[in-house]
Subunit: 511 residues, 2 copies
Amino acid sequence: MEPWIFRFKAEGTVDFSQLTFDPGQNELIVGARNHLFRLSLEDLTLIQGAEWHCDEFTKGACFSRGKSELTNLTEIHDQISGMARCPYNPRHNSTALITSGGELYAATAMDFSGRDPAIYRSLGGCPPSAPRKPNFVSSYDIGPFTYFFFRENAAEHDCGRTVFSRAGRVCKNDVGGRFLLEDTWTTFMKARLNCSRPGEIPFNYNELQGTFYLPELELLYAIFTTNVNSMAASAVCAFNLSAVTQVFRGPFKFQENSRSAWLPFPNPNPDFQCGTIDYGSYVNLTERNLQDAQKFLLMHEVVQPVAPVPYFMEDSVRFTHVAVDVVQGKDQLFHIIYLATDYGTIRKVLSPLNQSMGSCLLEEIELFPPRKRQHIRSLLILHSRSELYVGVRDQVLKIPLKRCSYHKTREACVGARDPYCGWDLVLKKCTTLEESVRMSQWEQSITKCPVRNVTVDGGLGAWASWASCSHSDGSSAGACLCRTRACDKPAPQCGGRSCQGISVEVANCSR
Amino acid sequence: MEPWIFRFKAEGTVDFSQLTFDPGQNELIVGARNHLFRLSLEDLTLIQGAEWHCDEFTKGACFSRGKSELTNLTEIHDQISGMARCPYNPRHNSTALITSGGELYAATAMDFSGRDPAIYRSLGGCPPSAPRKPNFVSSYDIGPFTYFFFRENAAEHDCGRTVFSRAGRVCKNDVGGRFLLEDTWTTFMKARLNCSRPGEIPFNYNELQGTFYLPELELLYAIFTTNVNSMAASAVCAFNLSAVTQVFRGPFKFQENSRSAWLPFPNPNPDFQCGTIDYGSYVNLTERNLQDAQKFLLMHEVVQPVAPVPYFMEDSVRFTHVAVDVVQGKDQLFHIIYLATDYGTIRKVLSPLNQSMGSCLLEEIELFPPRKRQHIRSLLILHSRSELYVGVRDQVLKIPLKRCSYHKTREACVGARDPYCGWDLVLKKCTTLEESVRMSQWEQSITKCPVRNVTVDGGLGAWASWASCSHSDGSSAGACLCRTRACDKPAPQCGGRSCQGISVEVANCSR
């Protein structure tokens, strides 16, 4: 599609679902079905590939293997069971993390069918404490805790089946109960994450799909969608880690028995801290006893996002992955949110700068021609090189994030409202901040969203004049200027009826 | 728009929200803001009009008046307060019914602001028993009961604010408690109506918008939508009255106190019947005591529709009114559902004939040119004349339901799959059954849905071949044959991206 996109394909290899960087070697490590690859970060050329077909015995049970090191892909140092460490199917939701202490936390399906998901700690720990039918999304090693983000069937209400999104947390040094139920963590807690369109009856984006954590800001970007049985809609909400920890300090949500309502139960230990290792042995590690830990898992309060209105909302689309880049502009830092869609494009969105300005949809990056679109399997950002890596079914792609030279005029450069780019008055071209001669001679104006022209080709009349409008397609959730051109022909997007204002230009949005 | 549509307008008159027939006089009685009209059913010409401006005193309080008879619109026989009988605003939801016994049941807002809605009986009865913030939709006089259909904020769960739809019922001879709380009905019960798209997590159409009752079949057609803060979607569900009464025989849903869960409570009197008047005085009228009547209002079971999948579903549109015509076809009776949309068109839908065939969208009737659309305020069917009457903001319209002569060829006539029409082999034209010479020479084939071509004008390629598809735009909820033409240009209905298969032909659907 675009000349600036690099691609890697391998004959007969599919499911490019795992990407990780080896920055020391300037390499991208890629996991695909039965294959591991080392690729050059420069141009995605193959450095080494390894095929890992199962032996006949293993094939029968469909186990896959793990591997301890990756300096040489074909040199097997150790062989451990992948059970409870890797999913049985690349489409099962799973997340894994090696903590600074060298422990592997894997949150994945425990069985072949994918019906028994759990969080599992290995390489030095104790077995799991499983939420209800969870779909794991991500995990982070933060201070003394491992945080898990997932969605699961809601237990705490009786209005029919619903899925809720959760933040979960466990002490990294939790050894579980000592005699009774040794495989149960005593420090596990979880809380609901709220991301909803406010209103008298709020519209809930219940299902967490992806997260991106900015450790310096202790800020979590999270993407949510509606249920797969509902109409497609997606939103981006941002959560402060402090909001999560605050909820963990509050009351639990507790149901005494099945005839009781779920009620708040005072937290006996709001200042809970993970224990410390005394005298070299695991004694008094946690301050919660096992009985409490089994009764009090779920917090009463809901974790609210940074702003009451989601940072970005869009109907008729499902976001599947998110990555965030923090960009130094002329006057301030900007957060650029990259959102993978379920039809294989990537939305580039400017996060809201302040209360009065909403987010801006800057660009939609098309990875494939319209009729050859694929689901995105993985999305990874390499900040040091300002590059985005994308795994799909049959290839890996690399996209440079800074493409200023494509704006040929000063108007196009500044009008793109792209934090990566500005007009260099000396060089007389569109450059990145690094490429500019002097910052004082580098022009950038990120004060409003770019004017976008979303026009369908058809029997359209003349533009009406600009008028104020309420617009919420994501470039904004609030007041904008709009102008429209009418289309009088029946159109399927309007249920076969004629549409009004099918062609819309949106500008000057504010929230 | 269409030559067969009749219209009535009156200078300066708006809100044509109430329509009723006077079949004896062949007249349509129309209520608009500050106006009453008598119109000829024939061509909607004006027979008499009356303007009812408030006097200056009344205007201040904005009361409106009621009137006891309508033989002469300007002759005022009696003057009663409209409070609790008429809404204060034509946009407030309200329903009213005069029972066979001459009592007026009005379910409407009790105050100026519309914040205090209730069901109120007057012209011979006792005051109200109010559900929680209800929006009244319809009421019917059925046997010893008055049935109310409404939606209200759900009280029976704790998963956030939600609206549920209800069937409510009260004995027509309920006189209320005798000493304590005389204004409380002792026979009022209510139950939730379910209309949802099935699935692991069902998608609920929570909000009842309109009903149409077929008394001969004891069948209620009901239209439901999503909440106004959600994405627009609508569905039609049909309920047997027996399913409603069965739920009223079952357990109540009861919460002992705020710390208890809502639990089923056995119905002490499953064979509940309205009392009878003994010895001319109202004694032992009901078998429920007042305490029970205040505790046990809500039934535990949910009223399920006739079929687990709604009869008709459509996304991105809100249905506002429904009317049903029962049509004698060549081989059987058909139910034709007329659905008013929120943008002022009327969908004509064939109700499912059997389990294997879904509903068919037969036609969309356009009442206005595309850019002059109006919200529909009232929809009424006159079965004896096969005519549909529609009230909108500034006019009343009449639409003949049988328009067979517009199909000029045998193929078009039979291919329209319209139960009103067939091809007369003797007359060699498209006729109604009544117009046909002999039924045996009258050809009709309602075995599948008509082929519809929903095409947007644009840079479209050639048709792909027919392939099986899953289609749920309402003409079906299930397996169809589809063929598509691709559109490679960015389109707003696809969020500014290029669409695949924007032009779709759908045929041969089955459920």
